[in-house]
């Protein structure tokens, strides 16, 4: 098999896939869940329940409020304790529904059987509607509402559906195990997405460090319009633009979306969630989360209810090790460090990585020796060293002309810097300022 990859930049962080091969274990609901109403990109959902309400699993508790927004469902059954602002993984307090778990009563509409329903007669409109109703968002981490992606803007055409099974973040194995255990569901989900988009061709991209998943998906898609393509291991191949380039050699324009080159990209986890939503009427109430770390007793892949506290997951994986210094929500390259372990798992949580003392602190910052590594690894062809200097000197307009807004914050520059310079920190700062400048220009 010929392996493909994207051509510009990229790094090879140590993979550390400790939980690869650990079967997905479904965790029972915890005692309390906190379900934020903004787990997706776009406007927060509007809360429909009040303190004291009884809810059941799958019940709509907050509804979509705009074009880019989606629904939120109760992931457990029980009583609403509070509708208030709770700290979440961003570190801020945001509106959420706190539910005291009582039993595990499910909505009658949900088909909880394990039978895989491979086909449907549903049309485009119905598929989109079901996806919105079920609150499905991109599970790769960007959490863009999935039904919106299926609506191709006027003047654009979708030619390819690309499915992201790359999982290029170190440590994470949730998508890997999902492909191993829910392969048929994923294939059915891909077919639904193809139908929803109205495309004839789909490609599933998987990195070569998951040969078992490549083999399994290949076998299942044999004779279908779905092609499975192995990819060379390179971070950030799971980035949308990088994946499109790796699979089709098409460059998504600066400031554009994959649809500008006739492509729509979904994650394998999203394909699975779409299948559940459409064929089983099962809203997005749980997801697979990798809980891992070098000192953790049992690195695991858990299927957990949305709203479950992170601390509960770590407990189930053997408890927080004594040498823990940092806990990351997501992978080590793009994830967020948590300050509070009681924050809930949300739709976008793909992993919890527990980092030991010796790897948690940043190294001492040294002067830039102009080794050119940051320029070499930037997948967007930017010059991180220059952007950092411009940001330090507050030359934000110049940053804009140097294309800082193309930066997707993959962190390859900071990762690769031998002087441990906080390149991405300064670039983020610059992006925020440039964003303000651009908005004020629009306002005039």
């Amino acid at each position: 098999m010929r392996l493909k990859t994207f051509s510009r930049g990229g790094v090879h962080p140590p993979e550390n896939k400790l939980s690869a091969g650990m079967a997905i274990r479904e965790l029972p609901p915890p005692e309390l869940v906190i379900i934020p109403v903004s787990q997706h990109l776009g406007s927060p959902a509007k809360v429909l329940v009040e303190r004291g309400d009884e809810v059941i699993v799958g019940q709509l508790i907050a509804e979509s409020t705009g074009f880019i927004s989606t629904n939120i469902h109760a992931s457990v059954s029980g009583k609403v304790l509070k509708v208030d602002r709770f700290p979440d993984s961003t570190g801020y307090r945001n509106m959420a529904v706190q539910i005291q778990v009582e039993g595990d009563r499910w909505s009658e509409d949900i088909d909880r059987s394990d039978d895989v329903v491979p086909n449907t007669v549903l049309g485009q409109e119905d598929i989109r509607k079901k996806i919105l109703e079920a609150g499905v968002v991109g599970l790769g981490g960007a959490t863009f509402p999935s039904h919106v992606k299926l609506m191709v803007p006027k003047g654009k055409t979708a030619e390819y559906l690309l499915i992201n099974g790359v999982e290029c973040e170190p440590y994470l194995t949730a998508d890997h195990m999902l492909m191993m255990e829910r392969s048929e569901e994923i294939v059915a989900g891909i077919k639904l997405l193809m139908r929803g988009l109205g495309v004839e061709k789909a490609i599933l991209g998987i990195e070569n460090n998951k040969p078992d998943a490549i083999g399994k998906m290949k076998k299942l898609t044999d004779g279908t319009p779905i092609r499975v393509q192995g990819l060379k291991v390179k971070y950030p191949q799971g980035g949308e633009k990088q994946l499109v380039h790796a699979l089709l050699k098409r460059e998504v324009p600066s400031g554009g979306l994959p649809i500008d080159v006739g492509v729509v990209v979904f994650n394998v986890g999203t394909a699975n969630a779409v299948y559940e939503a459409v064929m089983k009427s099962r809203p997005l109430i749980d997801r697979v989360v990798t809980v891992t770390g070098k000192s953790l007793e049992k690195p695991s892949n858990f299927q957990v209810r949305i709203g479950t506290p992170v601390s509960y997951l770590i407990e189930k994986a053997g408890g927080l090790p004594g040498d823990t210094a940092k806990v990351i929500n997501g992978g080590p390259m793009m994830g967020k460090a948590l300050s509070d372990l009681d924050v809930p798992v949300v739709k976008g949580s793909s992993g919890i990585v527990v980092i030991r003392d010796e790897e948690a602190s940043r190294k001492e910052v040294k002067p830039c020796i102009r080794c050119t590594r940051c320029v070499g690894v930037c997948p967007m062809g930017l010059e991180p060293y220059l952007l950092m200097t411009l940001s330090e000197k507050k030359l934000f307009e110049r940053m804009e002309t140097e294309k800082v807004m193309d930066c997707m914050e993959c962190g390859s520059c900071s990762f690769t810097c031998p002087s441990a310079r906080p390149l991405l920190d300064y670039i983020r700062l610059g992006k925020a300022e440039v964003g303000k400048i651009m908005r004020s220009r629009k306002a005039v």
Binding site: P253, G255, K336, C378, L386, C417
Partner: protein, 330 residues
């Protein structure tokens, strides 16, 4: 529970560091150092030790007492500057001159600009050029290889490039060549020249190591060597009586040392691959122009310093290819 560290992503970092890169370059210089000790004996040992120790000491003193900062004299960069300075001096140079060279290299070449990462010109070359102008006789009396136990008392002679330059005033290349070492000897480094520049093969081994370890990329050394080869090749084909063959140019003087070690200095070379190629081709052209048409027999040092000066300009105007073409919005 103990407090958690919170910092923005990424939460992983490379194992490379400034010292690991600097010591990597130093390791790659060891074959050339060995060969030079073999040819120039005790003299090579003395100038290398004096140069390295003075560079480290001056770096420490300046950082500690002038800049009043935390000294970083052991991060490898001062040791490397010291080695490279020694490599481009004759092995019989009196040690006080070496110390002056080290002071200029570190003090003027590096620290006046703000230390590591901020200098415009290659510090070792700044030191060398200062000595070249200040002590022109001592800097152009080259010890004859093979005098192991001799230092400043070694017998001296002219370099092959020097003989070529002088000879061409009266004779043709064909008449000069028999008086010069054979290509094999040039390749092995058995000739007069700066202490560390003579052994082409050892320097090439160093380059392969640097490329293998990904400490440098091929762009700068190959574009310099390629340009010199092609340019001198054209001249040679045009008139083999007036111009030496390209192989002679490749194997003599400081070309290998300059192309592999001096021009590839991170701090003073361009940031983009395209910039590196322009820089390399420029250095190659200027080197040949000085060698063939200029007053000096060797021009690598000046070519590199000139293009060090162009580096900020190349960084400003030569941009990497951005991902994705611009689209117009609304």
């Amino acid at each position: 529970m103990n407090k958690l560290i919170v910092s923005p992503s990424p939460h992983a970092s490379t194992i490379e560091s400034v010292p690991s890169l600097m010591y990597g370059v130093i390791i790659s210089l060891l074959p050339a150092l060995g060969v030079s000790v073999y040819y120039f004996g005790i003299g090579m040992v003395i100038i290398t030790l004096v140069s390295v120790l003075s560079c480290v000491l001056f770096e420490y003193l300046i950082q500690k007492f002038v800049l009043k900062g935390k000294p970083t004299h052991l991060d490898g960069s001062a040791i490397l500057t010291g080695m490279l300075l020694a490599f481009c001096l004759p092995a019989n140079l009196p040690f006080f001159m070496v110390i002056i060279g080290a002071l200029v290299a570190v003090g003027v070449g590096k620290m006046t600009f703000g230390g590591l990462g901020n200098n415009i010109f290659n510090p070792a070359l700044v030191g060398r050029v200062f000595l070249f102008i200040s002590f022109p006789v001592a800097m152009t009396s080259w010890p004859v290889p093979g005098q192991w136990m001799k230092y400043t008392d070694a017998l001296t002679g002219a370099t092959p490039l020097g003989l070529m330059k002088e000879g061409l005033a009266m004779k043709t290349v064909g008449e000069i060549m028999p008086g010069l070492p054979s290509s094999l000897h040039l390749f092995l480094g058995n000739m007069m020249g700066s202490s560390g520049e003579v052994a082409a093969f050892a320097l090439l081994i160093g380059m392969i190591y640097l490329l293998y370890k990904k400490i440098i990329t091929w762009h700068i050394p190959i574009s310099i060597l390629g340009t010199v080869f092609i340019f001198t090749g054209i001249l040679w084909l045009a008139n083999p009586d007036r111009f030496a063959d390209p192989l002679f140019h490749m194997l003599t003087g400081g070309l290998m040392l300059g192309a592999i070690y001096m021009a590839t200095d991170y701090v003073t070379s361009p940031m983009t691959k395209k910039g590196m190629l322009i820089y390399g081709v420029g250095i190659g052209i200027v080197t040949v122009l000085i060698r063939v048409f200029g007053a000096y027999p060797e021009g690598v040092q000046f070519a590199i310093l000139i293009f060090n000066g162009f580096t900020p300009l190349l960084n400003k105007y030569i941009k990497p290819k951005r991902f994705g073409k611009e689209v117009s919005h609304g």
